[in-house]
């Protein structure tokens, strides 16, 4: 014998229970929170500015000044990467963007052809670096590199970072993972390089194996920000998080807008002579009395973990 109330309660429970069990893949629907059994993907947009005031809208594999980046999709994973070309080569007549650009384009090709293992992003760097040496063109230059791989089925993010580019993972408005900077000494990050034969031993050249590698689980809605040091040296975390709070949904246009606003802000701050940037702060901590932003190439790739749709 059920009263109306208890009957209503039963119905409500059944309906709510049913809702939370709807197949998340059946478009939209599904409650928030909790893992889903479907494949994950990254919706990525990017923006950047070259140091010499060139503006650019992101094309995959594009260069911003001496920075380069790529975004690639494969059946098993989504991969993105940034590389910061070391500008010092310009003094020796070498275009620094050639190395970083070719490195990123090679990584992109490796991913598209499936010549990689999602759980081994350092392998992508190593293979890509070896492929650079197989080019008939005598490439010279050096760059940092940061590779981020989302393994669709295992929902894990695998990363490799060599140098002072890096990534942040933001969940619920807080940074839950970040990369470590690798520096030999001040303003000299770890870098992959190809030197002319007469300068070998003199030019800093780190092996791809020296890259830091991490792996961790991600959830739907996690925000991953991958950028070169042009961003992190000019914008402290709280400012970045502030911008990310404005990201309401996971469609490409909003991500593009947010990425652009972050990059633009960093670009402005870089040229503010009075602003105490993280770079200036770090310099002061090391005994150098400087103030202001750090003019540099800025590349920002902003991704959100979402359900994978073809």
């Amino acid at each position: 014998m059920f009263s109306v109330l208890s009957y209503g309660r039963l119905v409500a429970r059944a309906v709510l229970g049913g809702l939370s069990q709807t197949d998340p893949r059946a478009g939209g629907g599904g409650g928030g929170g909790g893992g889903s059994s479907g494949d994950y993907g990254l919706v990525t947009a990017g923006c950047g500015f070259g140091k010499d005031f060139r503006k650019g809208l992101l094309k995959k594999g594009a260069c911003y000044g001496d920075d380069a980046c790529f975004v690639a999709r494969h059946r098993s994973a989504d991969v993105l990467g940034v590389a910061d070309g070391v500008g010092g080569w310009r003094d020796y007549g070498v275009d620094p963007s050639q190395f970083s650009g070719t490195l990123m384009r090679t990584c992109e090709r490796l991913v598209k052809e499936g010549r990689f293992v999602p759980s081994n992003p350092v392998g992508i760097l190593t293979t890509s670096y070896c492929e650079l040496l197989q080019n008939k063109v005598p490439l010279l230059g050096s760059s940092t590199a940061c590779i981020v791989v989302l393994d669709r089925s295992s929902h894990r993010l695998h990363t490799a970072n060599l140098g002072d580019s890096g990534f942040l993972v933001v969940r619920g408005g807080e940074v839950v993972h970040r990369s470590d900077e690798q520096q030999h000494y001040f303003n000299t990050p770890f870098q992959l390089s190809i030197a002319p034969p007469e300068a070998e031993g003199v030019v800093l050249s780190d092996s791809p194996d020296a890259a830091d590698s991490t792996s961790f689980d991600v959830q739907l809605g996690d925000i991953i920000l991958t950028a070169t040091d042009g961003l992190f040296d000019n914008m402290p975390d709280y400012m970045i998080l502030q911008e990310l709070k404005k990201l309401k949904n996971s469609n490409y246009e909003s991500i593009q807008r947010t990425a652009r606003s972050i990059a633009e802000q960093a670009h402005e701050l870089a040229y503010d002579p009075n602003y105490m940037s993280p770079f200036a702060q770090f310099a002061c901590d090391n005994g150098l009395n400087v103030r202001g932003g750090k003019p540099d190439d800025i590349t920002v790739l902003l991704s959100i973990v979402a359900e994978y749709t073809d």
Binding site: R109, E113, E131, Q134, N135, K136, V137, P197
Partner: protein, 621 residues
């Protein structure tokens, strides 16, 4: 009488009347046409829609420029969508073969051609590609991005490499074939030859190339296969003539004559003993033999069926001293070998390159053949013969004690332990192990025992751990070495070069292309130049440290130099090249691609002063 016959008669009459009416209403021309052709509708019906596919996988090939496990300039780039097309230039993302032009036929390591090679067989390299779906091909397009014009033959196979069951019968059909022709432009092009229709669906296509007329490496980006899933309506289009049909005849009749010979049925009534052969038999035996020397192998087999006299002549083992079976790779199988066995007991040169794949030749068939015919064998070509295994090499080492020339190029499926047997061939003068999995111990053993070696190719042998050890052994043991191919030998250093240069003073050809561990600053190239005055060919491709000093040393010491490749160095200036060209009068090939100090203007100036030299300068854009 059944009622069927009157009905048939009525129907036939009816049909005939309709035909006549149709003929009458059409004009003269149309009437002719309607009898000759059933017009194939160019608009295929929806049920027979055209399928367009890019290659899924590259399954086999004879050579490539790039490194194993790389995606730069390697054959695997031919699969999938094009990476570069329609841009023209020398790009890493394309498929490139190892050689071009006639340069490899002109250097000291070139081998002599086989007698009795049909002039219609001009293929130098091949690549086999698979596609996802089997279709009846209507077109095959090849996207060439650099120096086009190398493709000379396209074939289709009836076997499906992805089916779980082995096919009952494997047939190869030539879709298109032509002699090598010079293509004037070196721009990218989409090559669309007119292929013939075949009556089986295929997803395995083979391209055969000949680069002898090209000025530089050809580069291919992708292959597109157009076809229909269902068999197209029978079309009696006037097909392109004969070359294909002749080829087919060759193969079919070869089968025919084999079957015949196996049966060994000659009725004496058919041959007759009377004097009806027009005094031909008055000719001396040797003269008839000389005449028969000019026939191709299939013709020889056919001739044997004509009469007893000619049968005797055609089965004479002296006709089979040189046996080149490579042109017939598509049909050669165990039965063919067995058939030829009896005639080939004195064979000295045997070419089984490209043969036997996909189950055509078995290990036992090959072994049987060698047991009968191996004793006089001096030269054995087994390039890309993937049926070979450990046992086969053992048989070779036991049955061919006089072997001097062994080519195992691109036999990459041979297990490493197979190579140990080669050490028993003590008379070896020439050994090609390009792209094989030979290991260090086996190679050291070979070098130890084969002291007569004059030509050695270890290009792209990736399983060798330390090339300095190898070089040191070569320098110590192979005093007669004249040519050495160390292309892409990853870790050879100046120590190895030193041992090589001091030990093998007769060296005329040395390929050190893509050996990045050699540094000019150690003086290794200077040492090479000084200690090897007989050098005719030297490849230092992509060694970024080659500098002016090295060039000047070559100029003063190696005056017989004919071919030099210094691709990709930044440290050589036009001035030192000028000295080289002045001093080395025989220099015919100089590759200065991607040398940053040698721009196009410098090349033109050098060409103006030295017009006989081919100075190559490749470019990416």
């Amino acid at each position: 009488m059944s009622p069927v016959f009157p009905m048939l008669t009525v129907l036939t009459m009816f049909y005939y009347m309709c035909l006549r009416r149709r003929a009458r209403t059409a004009t003269r021309g149309d009437m002719m046409n309607s009898h000759r052709t059933i017009v194939s509708n160019s608009r295929t019906s929806p049920l027979n829609a055209e399928v367009v596919q890019y290659a899924k996988e590259v399954v086999d090939f004879s050579s490539h420029y790039g490194s194993e496990n790389s995606m730069s300039y390697t054959m695997w780039n031919l699969a999938g969508v094009p990476n570069v097309f329609p841009s023209s230039g020398d790009f890493t993302q394309t498929a490139v073969f190892r050689t071009y032009g006639t340069w490899w036929d002109q250097c000291p390591s070139a081998s002599l051609p086989f007698r009795r090679t049909p002039s219609s067989f001009q293929s130098q390299d091949y690549v086999e590609l698979t596609f996802e779906q089997q279709v009846y091909p209507t077109a095959v397009h090849v996207l060439e991005t650099y120096h086009p014009g190398a493709v000379i033959r396209i074939l289709a196979c009836s076997a499906n490499p992805y089916s779980p069951n082995p096919p009952a019968e494997v047939r190869w059909e030539i879709l298109w074939s032509e002699r090598p022709m010079k293509v004037n432009a070196s721009q990218a092009r989409q090559f669309k030859p007119c292929i013939k229709q075949i009556n089986f669906p295929t997803n395995l296509i083979r391209l055969e190339v000949n680069s002898s007329l090209l000025d530089y490496y050809t580069e291919l980006d992708a292959v597109v296969l157009h076809g229909t899933k269902d068999k197209p309506l029978l079309s009696l289009k006037t097909a392109l003539v004969d070359m294909n049909d002749l080829e087919d005849d060759d193969y079919e009749e070869k089968d025919g004559c084999e079957m015949d010979a196996l049966n060994k049925k000659f009725s004496s009534a058919a041959l007759g003993d009377g004097p009806h052969n027009g005094y031909f038999d008055k000719l001396p035996y040797e003269l008839i033999q000389l005449i028969l020397n000019h026939l191709s192998l299939p013709d020889l087999c056919r001739l044997a069926q004509t009469c007893r006299l000619l049968h005797q002549h055609c089965c004479d083992p002296l006709q089979y001293i040189h046996l080149n079976l490579q042109p017939y790779w598509a049909r050669l199988d165990d039965t063919s070998l067995e058939f030829l066995q009896a005639r080939c007991v004195l064979v000295q040169w045997l070419n089984l390159s490209w043969t036997g794949n996909r189950g055509f030749i078995s290990v036992s068939g090959f072994s049987r053949f060698l047991k009968v015919c191996g004793s006089e064998l001096v030269r054995l070509e087994l390039s890309c013969s993937h049926f070979l295994n450990d046992t086969c090499l053992e048989v070779i080492s036991e049955m061919c004690p006089n072997l001097q020339d062994l080519n195992l190029s691109s036999c990459d499926k041979l297990p490493p332990q197979a190579f140990g047997h080669i050490a028993k061939l003590c008379s070896l003068k020439r050994l090609v192990l390009y792209r094989t999995k030979v290991e260090q111990t086996a190679l050291l053993s070979i070098l130890n025992f084969c002291a007569e070696l004059q030509h050695l190719s270890l290009g792209s042998c990736v399983m060798i751990e330390d090339y300095d050890v190898i070089a040191s052994m070569i320098g110590a043991k192979c005093k007669n070495l004249r040519t050495l191919d160390l292309w892409r030998c990853k870790n050879i250093t100046e120590n190895g070069i030193a041992e090589l240069a001091s030990g093998c003073v007769l060296l005329e050809e040395l390929d050190l292309g893509w050996c990045p561990t050699l540094q000019s600053s150690t003086g290794c190239f200077v040492r090479l130049a000084r200690q090897l005055p007989n050098l005719q060919k030297l490849f230092l491709t992509a060694n970024r440290s080659v500098c002016d000093t090295d060039i000047e040393e070559l100029a003063s010491n190696c005056t017989r130099l004919q071919q030099l490749d210094i691709l990709g160095t930044r440290m050589v200036s036009p001035a030192s090249l000028r000295k080289l060209l002045e001093s080395c009068k025989d220099l015919s090939l100089l590759d200065v691609s991607f040398c940053s100090q040698i721009d196009n203007k410098a090349v033109l100036e050098l060409n103006a002063s030295f017009p006989k030299v081919f100075i190559k300068k490749s470019f990416t854009q």
